[in-house]
Assembly symmetry: none
Homo-oligomer: 194 residues x 4
DNA sequence: CATGAATGAGAATTCATTCAT
DNA sequence: AATGAATGAATTCTCATTCAT
């Protein structure tokens, strides 16, 4: 085990940063939550900013792993998307705070180049999927970035409803939301008359 | 005019809070941005938290006004949604920072009861629209909160793409995103005739 | 008056740094001694290191002024030295802590380039005096740096005896020490047989 | 051998305290320099202050030994002084940091009674030498403390020039500085015949 | 009304010291 | 005996807020 204190600190940081904001979280509180002394944090992370970046990278890395696996284990766009949504869903169930964190801390001034690169990687990966699906005629013609923004945003919006207790996080909602969002993405096979 | 200093402070606060976070924004910096003395802020807002709440209410109030007008000036759900999306769009153009602010500061511990009430009002209003549209058979059967979360999230996601410069904020994107999101909402009648 | 708080802080810093060391002086103690709030110090000096450098420059600048005046108001080396010693003496009476400070903080890692330059200026000035006196045949032939080190050190050693109360700081001691040190410097007019 | 770790710690402490100050030296750094674990230091010295006192006593004890030997192995004041200066010189060559340390840490608040006593012993010893030399008519009539302060200070000043690289630490400088300082001390007989 | 210098409580970070291994 | 990870008190520094001008 690569030190369970390190992980305890990362976990506490994710939890607190995602609910109280990076700047709104005092280190002593974080230390208490992690069950370590305040000084101990600095044995693992040389500053609060470095810790924030580590949390960011852990989250986006885990998410990336989930998405990559989802996409590679299917072959047609519709199934790939099902995999993606299921991946997001399971990730959100296991890491309920990670989405809120990634959203809150997106483009925060303290993020360093490497963290931004991790973010770009995710985005590029999503872009490639969209282009492939469009080429296959399965997905609506539109700038990939726009579609990605809409879908990612929709999922984030959904997780907030979970967090607020306004929507239940069950299989039924998973299926229905997935269908709805696919409609957003799907090529309009019917003749659209503006 | 209720003092242009007050408004300058609110504007500076919106701008800074939305980019640097509430806790990440020092009052002296805010004063400088607003072009007033640090002490002056306290003539208009008794504390930083009160200022934060005022910004929140200004944003959500303005947004509410936009949405209400959009809905009341149309009669069929499809047109209402077009109005809503256009309202959001125009609001985002005029107040590019307001969405980021509302997202970042959603459920921040410093928000008081009144601010939360403002948020609830928005949400209830949206809920009523959804239910009406569902009753009319125009909108997909699903919990309103789920649909609202998805659509609101999608729009927020889109504004982030604007802010990042990855999507252009032009009429074409406005129309296409609106169509895509309507597909997410629309009742699944095979024949969609707009 | 260019802020009497600034001067109060410099005075307190000189006093404490010279007795307790730079690193041995906590900022709150310094603030208390200066009669200001802890935060006030940072309105005038952006960090403790900057404050340390300011104290150093103030001391070495004042000392430089004293020496320059001493030297320019005499014409023969013997009288110049009398002036120098008297200058040092009066300076030590008025700024009893400055010598201890300059000695303690010589070549401390926190000193910046400008402070080191101030030190060099003093040293160059002394060097020129020594060379002039040597050229006039009044001063012992030896590397100026060696003589300067010996004389400066001797004076510093003397001030420590004052501070320790082992030597009285009176006119008599001033005269006798001056004579003794001049012997150290003076050209050996007698024939020296090694 | 009383443990070579103990000595390694003392050596590292002398080196660091003399360049970075007592308060400016973190124990972990000291441990690293000494090549021991941080905890190990506390097996030999119960606290940092105790270590500081041990370094002080080691330095002043070694210096005392050198001076005592120098004085006892000569009989006339002029030769005694030659021995003293040579003793100081050799000591400074072997322990280049000891002088800076003794100067920096003179009268530091952390020094305990025993360390101060060691200092007094040195001083008393020097005083006796001065008085003897004065009684023999070889040394200038003046308070011993004044002469000791001047001479000790002069030597310290010289070592700083060595450390700064402004004066070379060679035989020639040794002889010339010794002569110069003896002039400071010598009774003012017109005819000085060495 | 407006200001911004001044404040001190609280933030991030360091470091002397301990103690389980 | 030796270690070095862990600690929390102490340190440097920041910032929301006040108040004399």
């Amino acid at each position: 085990m690569p030190s369970d204190k390190r992980q305890a600190i990362l976990d506490a940081a994710l939890s607190l940063f995602s609910t109280r904001t990076f700047n709104g979280t005092p280190m002593p509180l974080l230390a208490e939550r992690a069950g370590v002394g305040a000084g101990t944090i600095y044995r693992y992370f040389s500053s609060k900013e470095v810790l924030g970046n580590a949390v960011f990278r852990e989250c986006s890395g885990a998410l990336f792993g989930v998405l990559r696996q989802a996409v590679t284990s299917a072959s047609i766009p519709r199934d790939e998307f099902r995999g993606i949504w299921r991946g997001l869903w399971e990730f959100a169930e296991k890491n309920p705070e990670a989405f809120r964190f990634l959203e809150l801390h997106h483009h925060e001034p303290y993020l360093d180049a490497e963290s931004r690169a991790a973010d770009d990687q995710l985005r590029r990966f999503a872009s490639e999927y969209v282009r492939r699906a469009q080429a296959a005629g399965a997905m609506r013609e539109a700038e990939p970035a726009m579609l990605i923004g809409l879908v990612w945003g929709a999922f984030v919006g959904l997780t907030k409803e979970f967090a607020a207790g306004r929507v239940l996080q069950n299989k039924d909602v998973a299926r229905r939301s997935e269908e709805a969002v696919w409609c957003l993405l799907a090529a309009n096979t019917e003749k659209e008359i503006p």
